[in-house]
C-alpha cells in the first residue's frame, strides 16, 4: 500500500467518525466559504496535493515561476516599501504631509491627486466646482508640482503617482521638477498608475477612448525605457476592481487580462517585450480572508510568469516577475466603531506581507468617514512597522508555503483565473470585454451578492450587522478647507498672467501636430509642461484630437 492509499483509508475512517459526531454536535455552518465565496473543506491533507510538484509549482524564491516571491531573500534583504497614499488641498498642505510621513519613517511617497487633476481639468473649470483639493492635491501646472516636492530630493525618494488618463502629463511634470532640482531623469524612481483599462472597468477617471489611451500608454513605455529607465511605467491595478465588488479570483483574473492587453498593445506598437516588460508593475488589494489573500498573491505571480514566458516569449527573467504594491481594502472598513478598522487593516497588511508584496499602504481607521487625520495615518504606518519589526513574519521567505490549505487555495485560484482569461481571450481580449460590459457585469454581480449576504446576516461584519453599539458621531475628522478652490483659481490666474504665452501657444500647437501624427507624445508634452502650459490646456488639446470615452451604462 502506498502512503497515499494508507492516508486515504485513515481519512475515510476519520471522516465517518466526525460525521457521526456531527449529528450530535453540528459544525457552526452547513457550508464554509472564503471571503470570495469559494468552498472551504474541514481540513486539508496531502490528499489535496497528490500531484504536487515542488519545482514546477513553487520553485525557489527569486526563481521561476516566482510563487514564493520575486527576490531570493525577500524581506531579509530589504523590507517592503512603506508607502502611504496621501494628498489633499493645495500643494503646500500636501508637501507638509509628505515631510511628516518621511519623518515618521515612511520610505516612499504616494501622491493622491484631486478629481479635476485626474480627469484633466484645471481648478477653474466649471466641472471642478466643489471638487478642488477634496480627494487629493490639486495640480494645475508645473508651478504646483514644484511646491509639492519642495525640499524633497527626488533622487533619494521613490514616488508613486495615482494618475491614469493624464499620466503622461504628470510624469512630464515630475521629470521637469527633477530637472530644476538638478536631478536627471535617469536617476528617478517611482511609479505612475497609468492603467486606463481599470478606469473603464471600475474607477471611472477616464478621459479618452481606448485606442488613443492605449497609444499614450505605449508612448510612455517607449519613452521611459530610454529616458527614465528606473520608472515603473504602469501599475496594472486590481485594487479598484476588488473595491468595486470583485472576488479575489476576479481581481487577479481581470488585472492580468488587462496586463495582457497592455503587453499586446506595446508589441503591436513595435516594442520588444523585454524592453518594457521589466518595468510593468501591479497593484492589488488585501481583504480580510488571510489565507485566501496570501494564496491570491502567490497564484498571481505564478500565472503572470507563465504568461510572459510562454505566451509572449519574454526572455529576460525580469519580464516574468510580477512585482506589486498592495493597499488594504477600503471597502472592508466600517463607519461603525471605526477603531475596529485598525484590526482589519492589521490582518490585511499581514496578508500582503505573507503574500510577498513589494510595497504597502495601510488604510487609516477613519477612512470610511473622511480623509485620514495625521494621527490615524500614523497608527496605520505603525501597523506596518509592528509587522515588520515585531511579528517575525518578515524573517523567512514565504512562510506559508507547503500548507496544504494555502497550496490548495493557490492552485484553485490559478485554475479559476486561467478560466476567466480564456473567456476574455474568446471575447477578443480585455478591451473588447470591457466595451461589451462583460467584466463590469461580472463584478456587479459579485458586489450585489456580497451586499445581500451582509444584509441577510450570512456574512458577519463586526459592529455593522452584529455586535452593534449605540455610537456618538465621530469627532475630529479631517476637513479640507473649502477655500482651496478659490486659492487655486487665483494661483492659476497669476500663473497665466506671468508666463510666456507665445511659448505656450507654440508648444500646444506642436502637441496637436504630434497627436494627429504617430509620433511619441512624451517629448511635446514635456515641452509644454516646461513652459507652464496647464494640465487642463494640454488635456484639452488631446480631448479635441482624440475625443472622449462614452461608457455603456448598466447595473
Amino acid at each position: 500500500m502506498t502512503d497515499f492509499e494508507k492516508l486515504e483509508q485513515e481519512f475515510k475512517a476519520w471522516q465517518a467518525k466526525v460525521e457521526k459526531a456531527n449529528e450530535k454536535y453540528p459544525e457552526r455552518k452547513k457550508q464554509f466559504v472564503t471571503g470570495s465565496n469559494a468552498p472551504v473543506d474541514r481540513v486539508y491533507t496531502p490528499l489535496d496535493q497528490k500531484d504536487f510538484d515542488y519545482s514546477s509549482q513553487l520553485g525557489l524564491p527569486g526563481e521561476f515561476p516566482y510563487t514564493r516571491g520575486v527576490q531570493p531573500t525577500m524581506y531579509r534583504g530589504r523590507l517592503w516599501t512603506m508607502r502611504q497614499y496621501a494628498g489633499f488641498g493645495t500643494a503646500e498642505e500636501s508637501n507638509t504631509r509628505y515631510k511628516y510621513l518621511l519623518e515618521q519613517g515612511q520610505t516612499g511617497l504616494s501622491v493622491a491627486f484631486d478629481l479635476p487633476t485626474q480627469i484633466g481639468y484645471d481648478s477653474d473649470h466649471p466641472l471642478s466646482e466643489g471638487e478642488v483639493g477634496k480627494v487629493g492635491v490639486a495640480i494645475d501646472s508645473l508651478a504646483d508640482m514644484e511646491v509639492l516636492f519642495d525640499g524633497i530630493p527626488l533622487d533619494k525618494v521613490s514616488t508613486s503617482m495615482t494618475i491614469n488618463a493624464p499620466a503622461a502629463v504628470l510624469l512630464a511634470m515630475y521629470v521637469a521638477v527633477a530637472e530644476k532640482q538638478g536631478v536627471s531623469a535617469q536617476a528617478l524612481s517611482g511609479t505612475i498608475q497609468n492603467d486606463i483599462l481599470k478606469e473603464y472597468i471600475a474607477r471611472g477617471t477616464y478621459i479618452f477612448p481606448p485606442a488613443p489611451s492605449m497609444r499614450l500608454i505605449t508612448n510612455i513605455f517607449e519613452y521611459c525605457s530610454k529616458q527614465v529607465p528606473n520608472w515603473n511605467t504602469i501599475s496594472i491595478s486590481g485594487y479598484h476592481i476588488r473595491e468595486a465588488g470583485a472576488t479575489a479570483v476576479q481581481e487577479v483574473a481581470f488585472t492580468i487580462a488587462d496586463g495582457i492587453a497592455y503587453v499586446e498593445a506595446a508589441i503591436k506598437a513595435g516594442l520588444d517585450v523585454d524592453e518594457f516588460a521589466p518595468r510593468l508593475s501591479f497593484f492589488f488589494n488585501a481583504h480580510n480572508d488571510l489565507f485566501e489573500e496570501v494564496a491570491k498573491f502567490r497564484a498571481a505571480r505564478r500565472v503572470w510568469a507563465h504568461i510572459m514566458r510562454d505566451r509572449f516569449g519574454a526572455k529576460n527573467p525580469k519580464s516574468w516577475m510580477l512585482r506589486f504594491h498592495t493597499q488594504t481594502g477600503g471597502s472592508t472598513l466600517t463607519a461603525q466603531q471605526p477603531d475596529n478598522n485598525i484590526i482589519r487593516v492589521t490582518l490585511q497588511a499581514l496578508a500582503a506581507v505573507l503574500g510577498g508584496t513589494q510595497s504597502l499602504h495601510t488604510n487609516s481607521r477613519d477612512e470610511a468617514l473622511a480623509l485620514p487625520t495625521e494621527q490615524a495615518v500614523r497608527i496605520a504606518l505603525r501597523t506596518q512597522q509592528i509587522i515588520a519589526y515585531e511579528s517575525g513574519v518578515a524573517e523567512t521567505v514565504d512562510p506559508l508555503a507547503g500548507s496544504y490549505y494555502v497550496e490548495s487555495l493557490t492552485d484553485r485560484i490559478e485554475t479559476e483565473v486561467l478560466q476567466y482569461i480564456k473567456r476574455i481571450d474568446d471575447l477578443g481580449g480585455a478591451v473588447k470585454a470591457i466595451e461589451q460590459g462583460y467584466i463590469q457585469q461580472e463584478i456587479q454581480d459579485s458586489a450585489y451578492a456580497w451586499q445581500m449576504d451582509v444584509e441577510n446576516g450570512e456574512r458577519v461584519i463586526v459592529g455593522l450587522n452584529k455586535f452593534q453599539v449605540k455610537e456618538n458621531p465621530p469627532q475630529g475628522l479631517l476637513r479640507v478647507d473649502p477655500a482651496v478652490g478659490e486659492r487655486q483659481k487665483q494661483k492659476l490666474a497669476a500663473l497665466k498672467a506671468g508666463r510666456d504665452q507665445k511659448a505656450v501657444d507654440s508648444a500646444l500647437a506642436s502637441l496637436r501636430n504630434a497627436a494627429s501624427s504617430s509620433d511619441n507624445l512624451m517629448p511635446p508634452i514635456l515641452e509644454a509642461v516646461r513652459g507652464y502650459a496647464t494640465l487642463g490646456e494640454i488635456c484639452s488639446v488631446l480631448r479635441e484630437e482624440f475625443g472622449e470615452y462614452r461608457p455603456n451604462v448598466m447595473f
Binding site: L115, P116, Q118, I119, L127, S128, E129, G130, E131, K134, V135, E199, A202, R203, G204, T205, E243, A244, G245, S331, T334, A335, Q336, A368, L369, A370, L371, Q444, A447, Y448, Q451, V454, E455, I461, L464, N465, P473, P474, L477, R479, V480, P482, P551, V553, M554, F555
Partner: protein, 134 residues
C-alpha cells in the same frame, strides 16, 4: 392599482465610485421599482433634466468625493426652478455627519451613510415618496 415608483439613481460630481449606486439601483429594481441610473460625472443640470424627462418620483444621489455640500443643494434648487419640487431627493455616500443638518435644510430628505442596508433605503422611499401613486 398602484403604479411603480420611478427612481433616478444619479452620480453628481467627478468621483468614479459607483459600486454603491449600482447596488442600490439593482436593489430598488428587485423591490419592484423602475430605476434609471445616470452613470458617472453628471452635473446637477444633467441630473435634473434626466429626472424631468424620465418623470421620476425619486432622485437618489450618490457621492464619495466630498463635493456634496456644493452639488446636492443645487439639484434640489433646479428641480424647484423647473416646478418639480414634489420629487423626493435623498443622498448617500461618504458624507460627514456634521454636514447632514445643512443638507437637510437645503431640501435633501435623508442622507444614508456607509453600511446602510438597502432594505432601509427601500422602506424610506416607500414611506416618503411625495407624488401620488394612484
Amino acid at each position: 392599482m398602484e403604479r411603480k415608483i420611478r427612481v433616478l439613481v444619479a452620480k453628481p460630481g467627478l468621483d468614479g465610485h459607483d459600486r454603491g449606486a449600482k447596488v442600490i439601483a439593482r436593489a430598488l429594481r428587485d423591490a419592484g421599482m423602475e430605476v434609471i441610473y445616470t452613470g458617472l460625472r453628471q452635473t446637477p443640470e444633467q441630473i435634473v433634466s434626466a429626472a424631468i424627462q424620465e418623470d421620476v418620483d425619486v432622485v437618489a444621489l450618490s457621492i464619495l468625493s466630498g463635493a456634496h455640500n456644493h452639488l446636492f443643494p443645487r439639484v434640489v434648487e433646479l428641480l424647484k426652478e423647473r416646478g418639480a419640487d414634489d420629487v423626493l431627493v435623498f443622498g448617500g455616500g461618504v458624507i460627514p455627519e456634521e454636514d447632514i443638518p445643512f443638507l437637510k435644510s437645503k431640501g435633501i430628505a435623508e442622507i444614508f451613510g456607509p453600511g446602510t442596508p438597502t432594505s432601509k433605503t427601500i422602506e424610506f422611499i416607500r414611506a416618503n415618496v411625495k407624488r401620488p401613486l394612484h
